[in-house]
Every structure is written in structure tokens, then in C-alpha cells.
């Protein structure tokens, strides 16, 4: 954790793989790193860089506590975590969107109005209760949030919820479950985040890293999508 070694938190999975590609492109050592292995820490003492691989939702936590100086994480995860970290660069990959979706029939019955839809029914299933609550609160719509951990599209099919808030990239999952997008909330891509103390105190050390990643991201890193 000291000042010498720079620690970067990376998410497991597809987003992490894209992050590693970006790191390689920006000239950072990535030899032998993989996000789906048992090894969770990869150190490159010569370059003074260490990577920790963790669950995507834990990346903001490691960074907020200062266990990692920098982290790469999706805006979706970051918004839901509400962590007190600095959001430095939009890395461009891992595109997806937050949407509110409803069963097609109910949406048509409600005359395509969110207010009408919410008059009789107010249950919203989501993996992202913070984002969902903020969205409905800003619009003054009282709802009951039901937190689920996956396969949100199932909830309206079996009557657990009337609406869902979820992330989509292509919209295929919605279509397959006869759900329609009612409205978008905001788009999400991968972000470079920093611990607020580390950013200030190790600025000279972090700045070239941030600049290199920014340049690599703007140099047209392939737009990948999250599932």
C-alpha cells in the first residue's frame, strides 16, 4: 500500500479482460495476468505496478479505502456503489445502458405513460436499488424497490414486480422475455477511478499513468459491450 508500489484494482470477467487490453495498449506490463484465475494479485516490481483482481462491485470499495490507488470499473457498478472516489477518465469500453422496462402488454395498456403505469402498481425489481431509487425519487414517483441478484427479467413474468431497472446492451434479453424499454436512465462505460487521498498525495506518480490510459482509451479502443 505504500507510496512506492502503485496498486490498480481490476474487475473479474469481460470488463477486466478489456481493461487488461487497454493497459497493454498504454504500455503497462500485463504479461501473465488473467482475470479468471485463482491468482488475485499480480506484481511487477520492476515497473512498480501491482494489480488486484476482484469482483466488479468490490473495485470501488478497494479504491475508496485506499487499498488500491486506482481502479477500473463500469459506471453502472460505480453509480450503484455510491463510493467516495474520484472519477477521472471515461475509458470508452464496456458500453451498456440503464433502462426501466415493463411487460409489453402492461406498457400498452398504460398508454405508454410511466405515471399511468405506476398508478396501480409500484414494485420495481432491480440489481441496482440505489440507481433505481434515485431515478424514481427525482421524478417524484413512489415505488417499492425489490433487490434481486440476477435474472431480473424473471420478476415481472411471475408477478414479483411490475417494472424492472436493469442494464442492457443489445436489448435482446428484454425482447426474449416480452419486455419493452420504458425509458433510459443513463449510459455506462468503464471508468478510471482514484482514491481521493492517493490522487492528491501521489499525484506525480499517478499523473503519467492516468494520461497514458486516457490516451490509449481515446486512441480508439474497440467498443465492447457488457452482457
Amino acid at each position: 500500500m505504500g507510496t512506492a508500489m502503485l496498486t490498480l484494482a481490476l474487475p473479474k470477467g469481460k470488463l477486466g479482460d478489456d481493461a487488461i487490453q487497454l493497459l497493454a495498449k498504454a504500455g503497462f506490463p500485463v504479461k501473465g495476468i488473467a482475470t479468471e484465475t485463482r491468482q488475485l494479485v499480480f506484481s511487477f516490481p520492476a515497473e512498480g505496478v501491482r494489480y488486484i483482481i476482484c469482483r466488479p462491485t468490490d473495485v470501488p470499495t478497494y479504491v475508496e479505502h485506499g487499498a488500491a490507488d486506482l481502479g477500473i470499473v463500469g459506471k453502472d457498478t460505480l453509480a450503484e456503489a455510491g463510493a467516495d472516489v474520484f472519477e477521472l477518465v471515461d475509458l470508452g469500453f464496456g458500453y451498456c445502458r440503464f433502462v426501466v422496462a415493463a411487460p409489453r402488454r402492461r406498457w400498452e395498456e398504460a398508454g405508454h405513460s410511466l405515471e399511468t403505469l405506476l398508478t396501480g402498481s409500484r414494485r420495481v425489481a432491480t440489481k441496482f436499488p440505489r440507481v433505481a431509487a434515485a431515478f424514481f425519487r427525482e421524478r417524484g414517483l413512489p415505488v417499492e424497490i425489490i433487490k434481486l441478484h440476477g435474472n431480473i427479467e424473471l420478476a415481472p413474468l411471475v408477478g414479483l414486480a411490475d417494472l424492472i431497472v436493469d442494464i442492457v446492451s443489445t436489448g435482446r434479453t428484454l425482447k426474449e422475455n416480452d419486455l419493452v424499454e420504458v425509458t433510459g436512465i443513463f449510459p455506462s462505460t468503464a471508468r478510471l477511478i482514484a482514491n481521493r487521498v492517493s490522487y492528491r498525495i501521489n499525484y506525480q506518480r499517478l499523473r503519467p499513468v492516468i494520461e497514458a490510459l486516457k490516451a490509449a482509451a481515446q486512441g480508439g479502443a474497440g467498443i465492447a459491450t457488457c452482457s
Partner: protein, 402 residues
Amino acid sequence: MAGYLNFQVPAGVRDLLPPEATALRELEQELVAFFQSWGYREVLTPTFEFVETFQAGSPAGEEGSLYKFIDRDGRVLALRPEMTAPIARLVATSLRREDVPLRLCYRAGVFRYEEPRAGRLREFHQAGVELIGAGGEAADAEIIALAVETLLKAGLQEFRIGIGQVAVTKGVLQDLELPREAVAQIKAALAGKDLVGLEGLIDGYNLKGRKKRHLELLATLHGGKEALEEARTNFNRGGAIAALAGLERVWKALAACGLEKWLFIDLGILRDFDYYTGIVFEGYVPGLGVPVCGGGRYDDLLGRFGYPCPATGFALGLERILMARSEVKGTGQDEGYLVAGRDLAAVLRRARELHREGTTVIIDGQSENRRQAADRAAARGLALVWVEPLTGTGEPQGKDDV
């Protein structure tokens, strides 16, 4: 056994065990003594007060973070979330006839209803100073110098203090000539270092040229003297000129007395933006994800208590300092004596004699014999005093009585 009490304590509060409690109290003592050596007199204010005191503009007094309750007259009270507003109230009432500047210090437990996350407790301890009735660079320099010396005194070595000047940011925001809501969004992005969000807002409001450059610079400008130079070249309009000239004089004075190595300039440090009016600063320690101290100039607060005057100060988070210091002083091992024996009267008498010498004396009423007592003493690192029973009546009883 049925009917156990609930043994848990609520989220965000905790017990301090002997080594930690000792470390915290010693730190408090040390800091207050140090503040006093700089001429700051200690004050104590009530743990709870009318809610209006805390709402008078101090950021920690925001609705959501206060612990509020209602007294029997139906008035709303709150636990103090910080000490600056109570001290402002105290100065504006009880001390308003005293000559300024007033130098006051405090140590206090404070209470905030916050999500217990990264280094945040709902009850925690602060020590700090307020320099009231002193505007200008001399006071700013004194407070920052005191902050550096205080962190050194607290046993930290590797810390850095970042200095900002919110008046520069305020000038730039004014210069944008945007509706209030847009300014609020930009302010939030700057304060939270949401550079992605800031970029979006710059594009969204179609800001170009000087305005765009100024915002980007505010978010990223960082360094020593050279950063100050860069700021002065760029922010050459309105209030920013005077604000930066003042900051430069403070920086030069601090550098001249050898404090430069602990300091840097970062105009992105805004703290609680609406509350502060001038130079602000935060103290950072490597490896600790949250600042250990923070403060700055708040020239508008006293006016809200009907006693307009400039003021500056800072507070240290004591739990955070202890965490940064990591090694806990006070090992739980006592230096002193374990007094044991079969005759309680003789034991108490001997203990009393030793106590008067000012050493730690622990009375052992359990040991049956000298060997047991020796083991107990050894386990605690104490010297054993085995007292033989008082014999006969020739012993002059109570000769030590005062």
C-alpha cells in the same frame, strides 16, 4: 438463560479497549497542550444544542447528518456534528466583548448520521482550533503552520497538506454566466472530482475557450510554486487575482520557514464549498484513504450568529490519526507494584504508602501465597511486594496517617 440483552452496539459506534482508550486520551491531551502552547485556550460546549446552531451554515449540520431529538418543550435538539458552529455561537454570545483575535481550541466527540463506510464512524473524536476575528494572510499562514506542526506532534511523518483557495473557484463559476442549476452541477462535479461528469457538462453547456480551460485547470492544477505560477497566469480576472496573490504570500511565508516539504497546492480541494470563503486545506497520509485533518477560512459563519467577523481553523480526526500512526502506544503492561499478602489491612496499608510515591499499585487480594502472587506480578510486568501480616500490637498503627 432466557432474556439476554442485545449485546450489539449500533452501526458506526464502538467501544475503545484500554490500549486504544489510553492512546486516544493521550493524543487528546498532547494536542490540547500543544494548541495551548500556541496561545489557543480550550473551551467545552454542550454535547447537544438547539438544532438551529448546527444549521447555521456549517456543512456537517445538513439535515441528513444530524442526530435530532425533541425536548419536553417541543424544541428540536441535535447532537453536535462538529465544533465550529458551537464555538461561533459561543463567541457571538459569551465572548463578544473580548478583544479579537480569539484563539480557541477543543477536543470533543462528535456525531454524524453517515453511512458507516471507509473510515467513517457515527461517533468520532476531533481536536481542533479556531482563530476568530483575524482575516488576512497572517491568520491563514498561522493556521496552516499550526496544522503541520500538529501532525508532526501527533507522531505523523509522511503526511502532506494540500492547500486550495475556494475564492478562485467561485470566481470562475461566476464568470461562466450560466443558470444557477448548471453552476450547481459543475460545482458538484468539481467538488467530487468527477472529471468525466465535468467534461460532459462542459460539452453540454457548450463551454469553450477561456471558460473551458479554466474549469479543466481547476480540476487538475496541482503542485508547488510552479502550480501557483500557472494559476496566476491563467486566472487573471476579478476576485481570483487577489485570492491568488494572497495564497502566494501565504505559500512564500510557509516556505520561508521550512514547511514547504509538507505542502502542495491543489485548487481542486474545495471541501464543503458553500461554507468556506477563502484558503482551505486537507491533510493526507499515504495508505489512509481519507484525510486526517481539514479546515480553512469561513468568514461568513459568525455573521449568522449576529457577530460578523472573519475566522479560520481546522479539525483533526483523532481515530484517523491513530489509524495512520498504526502502532498503539501503551501496551497494557503497567509499570509499578503488585501488592499482595494474607493480611488485608497490611496489604492496603503498604499499597497506600506506595501510592503516595506516585507509582502504579495494583492490590492483589486473591493470591494465597507468595508464589501465586509472584506469577501474577510477572504476568503483568509488575514488581511484587509481598506483605507479611502485621504482628503483635507494638506496631504503631496509623503512623502514616496524614
